[in-house]
């Protein structure tokens, strides 16, 4: 187990173990539940814990690969458009007579291809920043979705397809099960494999990884493709929940996902963060907006609260780490890529 390699905030004793960012998230998570149950008489019941997650879990699937990407010190804003494009292609091919199962596979294939294309551009032209590449592909993918479906909506899926977004196995929704499985896979991938260690390494010191013979291009491509793949998974669940799709679905998902990952304590400077943080953040943001929704707080107040929460939480982690941070060179936004020469 290469645990000794690169771990910035490795727990040394029980005190620093409990001072970790993730414990603060747990605290906030509990606080939100306490607050919500005070606020609304409709909050504290079984449904809240079993059925409610499926109202916000659809975009949460992208959180996993986005964590990888941000650990790499990179970013991907094209995910929302990837969701739209793959969802549109799935619907159109089903309507053209393709069996639904095959259409779903096609959806995942298309989204993976979208991711792969991002990855290819980033690996081949390393001086391009991930922000600009994905901003352009964001426009392109969404544009293709419009080209394909124009002003139409496509839907009319078979009955069983709806069970992805609405169905449950026993009392547990299908979506939650899928989320837990993915969380397990991605958690293992990040924390228990060489691949995961490479991610931290690349995020922490790109050059060192290059010189120690890690295939940086391959890793970049794999991560981008995983992002695409998970965007496809989101597309399936989202489409299933809506029963039909349009070229403008999932607008703005990318920023929500990035916000969750960052709230989860993953540093955009790269190389830092754990998988459990973003997962907690998904539930914090989800339950916070659900609880406030139950007392009918208006959308504009919600915007302000979530924005404030984002800044305040990052401020805390920054002040905590500021000593260590000062020793590192100032964190460039997407600057890691700049130093790379392949």
């Amino acid at each position: 187990m290469p645990e000794h390699m690169i771990q910035l905030d490795k727990p040394r004793d029980w005190k620093s173990f409990f001072l970790q960012w993730e414990w603060l998230l747990v605290l906030i998570f509990i606080l939100i539940h306490v607050m919500n149950s005070f606020l609304s008489p409709y909050y504290l019941n079984v449904n809240t814990f079993i059925r409610t997650p499926q109202t916000f879990l659809d975009k949460a699937f992208i959180v996993f690969p986005m964590t990888f990407i941000i650990i790499l010190g990179s970013i991907d804003v094209s995910v929302g458009s990837t969701v739209a494009l793959s969802s549109v292609i799935m619907a159109v091919s089903y309507n053209a007579g393709m069996p639904m199962g095959l259409a779903m596979v096609l959806c995942l294939a298309v989204s993976s291809l979208c991711g792969l294309f991002n990855g290819f551009l980033l690996a081949r032209y390393h001086e391009l920043s991930s922000a600009i590449v994905t901003i352009s592909t964001m426009t392109i993918y969404r544009g293709f979705a419009y080209v394909i479906l124009e002003d139409q909506a496509a839907g009319g899926f078979p009955g069983w397809f709806e069970s992805f977004g609405w169905g449950s196995v026993g009392p547990v929704p299908v979506m939650s099960i899928a989320f837990i499985v993915c969380a397990g896979i991605f958690g293992m991938l990040l924390h228990r494999t060489t691949f995961g260690r490479c991610l931290y390494g690349m995020g922490h010191n790109h050059k060192a990884c290059l010189y120690s013979g890690i295939n940086i291009k391959k890793i970049k491509m794999i991560v981008s493709m995983l992002t695409g793949l998970m965007a496809g998974v989101t597309a399936i669940f989202l489409t299933s929940r809506m029963g039909s799709t349009r070229p403008n679905v999932a607008t703005g998902y990318e920023l929500e996902v990035i916000a969750m990952v960052v709230l989860g304590g993953v540093s955009t400077a790269g190389g830092k963060g754990k998988m459990i943080g973003p997962i907690l953040a998904v539930f914090i943001v989800g339950y916070l907006s659900y609880g406030l929704g139950l007392i009918n707080v208006s959308a504009q107040v919600l915007l302000i609260i979530i924005g404030g929460l984002l800044i305040a939480s990052v401020l805390i982690s920054n002040i905590r780490f500021s000593r260590k941070e000062q020793k590192k060179s100032s964190p460039a936004l997407f600057g890691v890529e700049a130093d790379e020469k392949t």
Partner: protein, 342 residues
């Protein structure tokens, strides 16, 4: 020092989470009779605000509580989340101006299964997922009236163009279909529809599209814009380019937005229904369905306060609807009476 900072900031986060609790807990927990909810397309839309005013007026006349909600962006995803929250609160009825005809279907059927009255108005959902639709005006009538208006403005012959909202807007597309239908009449042989442009309800894009229309078709005589942002943007361009009298604008728009251009003659007349009345009627319809007074079947009649009595009729899509009435014409004579109202 650092510890102090962290403590202070942690307090800020906790406060940010708890602040709404202090503010909203007062009214949240007391039960007041029936609760009727209305969800508009997005927040910060004056048409929607007035519509919700009317809804609240109707509901409060009967001493019930009105819950007014809107997502921060005009997406079906946002509305689905709000509907889930309303179902959890067990409201008596949900009125909605839908962002998508089909995509809200699964969640609205859940609401109906929970014995919540579903009464869309302004923008419809499919017949399986509603009790009755409150229609502001017959789409056929809107489409035909607009073409007739344009016909009068250009004196029976010439080029006209349409500037719509987004290419996916359900209402606008329906109206445009009826406009094209009306144009098939032999009376319009000399009227040429040169292009349908889409301004996406964005100011800058609508202005750019109008400018392109004027450049590409120097002989253009009339632009029909069935959307508030579009009609105001088109009138602005005509005013700025000193084309008043050469190019006429008509369509559907808010009197407040259009007062300037109706007064200066860029837009001789335009149409709209009264959003306050529309909301008021939705409120009464919601209450009638929720109380079991009507079931939403054809032939049901109910009393709608100051608007008089209404009957449920068959809708074009196979469901049922209540028709508010004729769209109202605004011109230089009456615009000053309405510009302050909505």
């Amino acid at each position: 020092m650092r510890k102090v900072c962290v403590t202070v900031l942690a307090a800020v986060v906790i406060a940010a989470v708890l602040a709404p609790a202090m503010v909203f807990s007062a009214g949240a927990r007391e039960e007041v009779g029936e609760r009727h909810a209305y969800i508009f397309k997005n927040t910060g839309n004056p048409f929607g605000e007035r519509l919700m005013d009317g809804f609240a007026e109707a509901v409060e006349e009967h001493g019930h509580q009105a819950i007014l909600r809107a997502p921060d962006q005009p997406t079906a995803e946002g509305q689905i989340q709000i509907i889930e929250q309303l179902i959890a609160q067990n409201v008596d009825s949900i009125g909605i101006s839908a962002n998508d005809y089909d995509a809200l279907s699964p969640v609205l059927r859940n609401a109906m299964n929970a014995e919540i009255a579903v009464v869309p108005s302004d923008s419809n959902v499919n017949p399986e997922s509603r009790h009755v639709f409150v229609n502001q005006a017959d789409p056929e009538q809107i489409g035909r009236t607009l073409i007739q208006g344009a016909y009068d403005m250009i004196g029976g012959a010439g080029q006209i163009a349409i500037l719509s909202a987004t290419s996916t807007a359900t209402n606008q597309n329906l109206w445009i279909e009826w406009m094209q239908e009306e144009l098939k009449d032999s009376r319009y042989d000399d009227v040429e529809l040169v292009r349908i442009a889409y301004g996406d309800d964005l100011r800058d894009k609508s202005v750019a599209e109008t400018e392109a229309l004027l450049r590409s078709y120097p002989d253009l005589e009339c632009i029909i814009a069935p959307t508030t942002v579009g009609i105001a943007a088109a009138s602005l361009v005509v005013t700025d380019n000193d084309l008043i009298g050469d190019v006429h604008i008509t369509g559907l728009g808010l009197p407040s937005e259009m007062a300037e251009y109706i007064t200066n003659g860029a837009c001789p007349f335009m149409y709209l229904w009264n959003p306050i009345d529309l909301g008021y009627l939705s409120g009464y319809t919601s209450m009638a369905v929720a109380s079991g007074e009507i079931t939403g079947a054809v032939g049901d009649t109910f009393d709608a306060g100051r608007l008089g009595s209404f009957e449920v009729v068959e809708a074009m899509d196979g469901g049922t609807e209540v028709l508010l009435g004729e769209p109202f014409m605004f011109d230089a004579e009456n615009i000053d009476d309405w510009k302050e109202v909505y």
